[in-house]
Symmetry: C2
Amino acid sequence: MTIELRQLRYFVTLADTLHFGRAAAQLHITQPPLSRQIAALEDTLGVVLFARSSRQVELTAAGRHFHAQAARILATLDSAVRSTQASARGERGVLRVGFTMSAAWNVLPALIRRYGDAYPAAEIQLSEVVPRALDEALLSGRADVGIAFPWQRPDGLEYLRVHAEPLCAVLPAGHRLVACAVVAVGELADEPFITFPAATAPALHALVAGCCREHGFEPRIRLETHLQQTIVNLVAEGLGVSLVPRSMSRMQLPGAVFRPISSPRVIEQGVIWAASNANPCLVRFLECARAFGAAAAAGD
Amino acid sequence: MTIELRQLRYFVTLADTLHFGRAAAQLHITQPPLSRQIAALEDTLGVVLFARSSRQVELTAAGRHFHAQAARILATLDSAVRSTQASARGERGVLRVGFTMSAAWNVLPALIRRYGDAYPAAEIQLSEVVPRALDEALLSGRADVGIAFPWQRPDGLEYLRVHAEPLCAVLPAGHRLVACAVVAVGELADEPFITFPAATAPALHALVAGCCREHGFEPRIRLETHLQQTIVNLVAEGLGVSLVPRSMSRMQLPGAVFRPISSPRVIEQGVIWAASNANPCLVRFLECARAFGAAAAAGD
DNA sequence: CGTCATCGATACGCCTCAGGCATCGTTAAC
DNA sequence: GTTAACGATGCCTGAGGCGTATCGATGACG
């Protein structure tokens, strides 16, 4: 004979009321099956849990001990059910977010904060990945969602635009073009460029290069670095010029001046995920991302 | 529909093997009922726990969460069963021991240590009581067992002798009777006595008085104190003489000399308990007490 | 002191449901 | 294209849980 939860539920109710009739009523059964189930439980345990007379029912010492344990087990099961349901709704669990360093500057902190506030029981695991590793991490299930620039997406990955902003020029403080309120990109043809490496940030690299080509020149690349902040630092040191997302202008760095450019290209960032990913947290996160993208578009 | 332990057991086994056929074999059932029980569990929870294809079974995120909880619940139940059985055997639980100060000098520490070593999972609650309160505490169930001198026992209390020892005389160092190897009790007729108060230690008081009367005199009581150690202290100060249990001579107090007495009365101590007491720890304790008494008698 | 009411245990019949057998549908391997 | 593996489903049987009726013991009350 094995113990069943029914017996624990009956036992706890009886231990609480110490009256077979009332306990049975509380359990919405009649008294005889309660008597039998309690007897069966005692038989299985090999322990007398209640001292019964025809006038009074009380717990034995072992019964008191088992009562505490059984009540705890039932409470644990109840909370397990609730938390499992929450887990299935994606309100609890683990969401592994892969982000590329170049894409993390704007979107990541705000989006993660929004999601974390909405689902405090969800655990967020952030890890930096290089862009070309992101696809593989998502498809293999090592990450649930990525934050990146749009790129040649392999089959099975979905993309949702979350943020967009124009490129702008960043110049050393003493540069001749600082005088212009709007910089014509063609004016930068002979300037040494500081850009993102094509290997680790292909989208951004291609965007900058494409912007230059559109204006009739191939950018002369002097330095490459994959950290956007470093690009601005190097420009401030007078080592060259660059085209960077406008939000970088929030860096108030003496020696670096930001200027809008003529016919600016727009750089876009979004979240990317595997269509086959069944992590329920992902659904909730994408809801956040959608709302975040809508709010950002409205605020633009 | 309510969750049953069978479903948890099946679920955990399946989550461990991730194979319906093998899990069913491990559970000594066939595969169809396992499929149905798992489906019923998922239905009750409203949560898909396994991602099944016809080639592969794996846990969902919610399933992993529930697996940890369910395994913990089953383990908790298992340990609850074991500890409840131990509790019923009296190997675990609470034993409330009431002792009288005058009786505690010899028997209590050794007996408690023996019991505590034998049943380390049992909790021992010691409390001092005055002798006349002991009976009531035992009968009302506020204490499980007492250690005391035998006395007029009311109905419903049982007694088991555990220890016995003769009275001996304790004298101030300079006393004329110190020269005698054995003191004749009659010689103490004119000495001032230091005794136990009749109110709190009636048995001991009566024994000493009876011993004196047997030798033809009523003891002249100068001081009363309920602590045996204090009696010896006062004797050492030269305030009088006394008759005390022989084991008190282990007190090596300068100024107090112990001497055997002629035709000594034996003072007896034992354990006392309510026959109606169903605390299983009591049974184990009484076994210890019986063995302790036998060992003491053999060592005598 | 006899009667009655209360309360848990027991007897018996019904019916639900868990388990076994047979089979289906899908998928991957060869 | 065939086959084998595997989980799902349909159907049947039997164990067992529940309800009704009743018993036996024990206080309460007149």
